[in-house]
Subunit: 296 residues, 2 copies
C-alpha cells in the first residue's frame, strides 16, 4: 500500500465526513481552507460554526513531508532523514450542554517502505455523563476493533484512559474511548488491515456522534447547564494545551496555528476553586471521570 | 539574608497588596485559602472576583521546599538535592475591556547558602493598547530599576519581550514590561539589593495598576469590545498553558492546581481564524504586539 493511496483515501474520508455532518446539522455548512507547509505538503482545514448541533467544529486533513528535524527526533524519537505524515483530525463542540464533545484522529507516518505506522483514536467528552450512552459509544468502538483483533478494543481503551488524562486535575477528559499509536501490524495483521481499521473508524464517525446527540432531546438550556459546559470546556483547553502531544508537536514544529487550535471550544470559563453542589448531576459526572472504569 | 526572612517579608507583601487592591476596588474583597504541599511547604492563595474593577484576580504567596525530583531536574534543569522556593504571584483580569490585564511575580529560589537566585517581572496586557499609558507603565518600571542598576531596565525590558511572546501567534502577550531570572547579584549588587528591588516592585504594584485603570473612564461596554476582550484572553490562556515557566514549574512540582491556574481569565473565546476589521482599533492593537518596540 502506497502512501499516496493512503493520503488520497484520507482526503476522501474528510470530504465524506464533512458532507454527512453538514447534512445532519442542517443549519451550518463547512468552510474549507487550504494551506501549504513551507517545508513540504500542507492540508485542508474544514470548519463549521453556529450550527443547529455544532457550535464550533473542525475536520482537518493534512499530508506533510520533509526532513526529519532535530525537534522531531527529540519529540517523536524518530530515526531516518525524510518523513511523510498524513491524517484526519476532528473535534466537534456542540451547542447544547447535554450533547458531548467528540474527538477523532487517524494518522499514518512513514520514514521509508519498511518503517511506518498508524495511530488514531476516538474519545467522547460529555459535559454530563449518561452511562447508557457511554456504553453505546464504547460498544460501537468495540465492534469495529473486534473485526480487526479481538484483544484490540481493551488494549486501546486502557491506552485512551492513560492518554486522555489530566494529572493536575486527577480526572479523565471524559468517558474515554480508544487510542492507539505506532501500530505496524504483526503476524496476523497486514498494513492493509490496519488501514482498513482506520477507515472503518472514520466512516463510522458521523453515525457514532449522531447516535450520541439524537438520543438526547433539545431541552431549554439552563444557566447552570451552560456554566457547567463552559467549565468542562476549560478542562478541554487545559488538556489540549498542557498535555496533548499532537497540539504540542504542531505548535513547536511551526504548523498552521489556526488548524492546530481548531480544537479549542468557542467559549470557556474558569472559576477559582469551583466545586459542584453535593449530589448534583455535575458532581456525579465529576465522580465518573476516573481511569479504568468499564463503560460496557 | 536568610530564606526565612525573605519568606516572611514576601508574605507581608502579599497582605499589603491585597489590602490596597481591596480598598481601591471597593466592591469585592479577597478570600484567602491556605494549602499544604505534601512534600513540604505550602501557601496562601488570595482571590477576588466580581469587583468594581477586577472581574477575577488572585494574589498568591507560596513557600515550598523538598527534594529535587527527577521530573524537576528534567523539566526545570535543576542541580542539587533539596530546594526552597518562595514567591508572590499576581494576575488581575479587569471587567472592563478598556482596562488592561496585569501580572506580577517575584520569586526566590535556593538550593543551598551558595546557590540561590531571584526572579521576577511585571507585564501589562491591554485588550486595547493606549500608547501613553504603556509609556507611563514602562516609566514606572524604569524608575524602580534605575535605583538598582542603570542598565537593568533595558536588559529586563528586552528579556520580557522575549519571554512574554507567543511564537505560534507571532505576537507579544501585551506591551511587555520587565522580566528577570537567575539574578544572583554581582560585584556591585548584594543579595540584599536584589531583595530590595523585588520588594520595591511589589510595593509599587497597586499604584502602578491603579494608574492604568483610573486613567480610563468607565464607558458602556459594547459587544465588540467584550468579544475582543475574550479573544485576547484566549491568547493569555494559550501563553500560560503552552509557554509560561511558572505554570510549568507549578504543574511539574505538583503544586496546588487551583493556585497555579488562578491566572486563567473568567471567560475566553476562540473563533477560528478571527481577523479584526481593517483599520479598526482591534487591528491597531494587534499591529503593536511586536518585540523590540520602545514604549517610552
Amino acid at each position: 500500500m502506497k502512501s499516496s493511496e493512503i493520503k488520497s483515501q484520507f482526503r476522501d474520508l474528510q470530504r465524506l465526513i464533512c458532507a454527512q455532518l453538514a447534512l445532519w446539522d442542517g443549519q451550518a455548512s463547512f468552510h474549507e481552507d487550504k494551506w501549504d507547509r513551507v517545508d513540504g505538503g500542507g492540508g485542508f482545514t474544514s470548519t463549521i460554526g453556529n450550527g443547529r448541533i455544532i457550535e464550533k467544529g473542525g475536520v482537518a486533513f493534512s499530508a506533510v513531508e520533509g526532513e526529519v528535524t532535530k525537534l522531531m527526533k527529540d519529540q517523536l524519537n524518530l530515526e531516518g532523514n525524510h518523513f511523510f505524515a498524513t491524517g484526519v483530525s476532528i473535534v466537534l463542540h456542540p451547542k447544547h450542554p447535554r450533547h458531548p464533545i467528540i474527538h477523532m484522529n487517524i494518522r499514518y507516518f512513514e520514514i521509508d517502505e519498511e518503517t511506518y505506522w498508524f495511530g488514531g483514536g476516538i474519545d467522547l467528552t460529555p459535559h454530563y455523563i449518561n452511562d447508557y450512552l457511554a456504553a453505546v459509544f464504547h460498544q460501537r468502538l468495540k465492534s469495529i476493533c473486534d473485526k480487526y483483533d479481538p484483544g484490540f478494543y481493551l488494549k486501546c481503551k486502557n491506552w485512551a484512559d492513560d492518554y486522555f488524562f489530566l494529572p493536575h486535575r486527577n480526572e479523565t477528559r471524559g468517558v474515554g474511548g480508544i487510542f492507539f499509536d505506532h501500530i505496524t501490524g504483526n503476524n496476523s495483521q497486514s498494513k492493509h488491515d490496519i488501514f482498513v481499521l482506520c477507515m472503518e473508524l472514520g466512516t463510522a464517525f458521523p453515525s457514532i456522534y449522531q447516535e450520541q446527540v439524537d438520543s438526547v432531546s433539545f431541552t431549554d438550556i439552563t444557566p447552570q447547564e451552560k456554566l457547567w459546559q463552559n467549565i468542562r470546556r476549560s478542562r478541554y483547553v487545559e488538556f489540549n494545551l498542557l498535555h496533548d502531544r499532537g497540539t504540542k508537536f504542531g505548535i513547536y514544529s511551526q504548523g498552521r496555528t489556526e488548524s492546530i487550535l481548531m480544537s479549542m471550544p468557542p467559549e470557556a470559563n474558569w472559576i477559582y476553586n469551583h466545586l459542584p453542589t453535593e449530589n448534583s448531576e455535575e458532581e456525579l459526572t465529576l465522580k465518573k471521570l476516573i481511569k479504568g472504569k468499564s463503560w460496557l
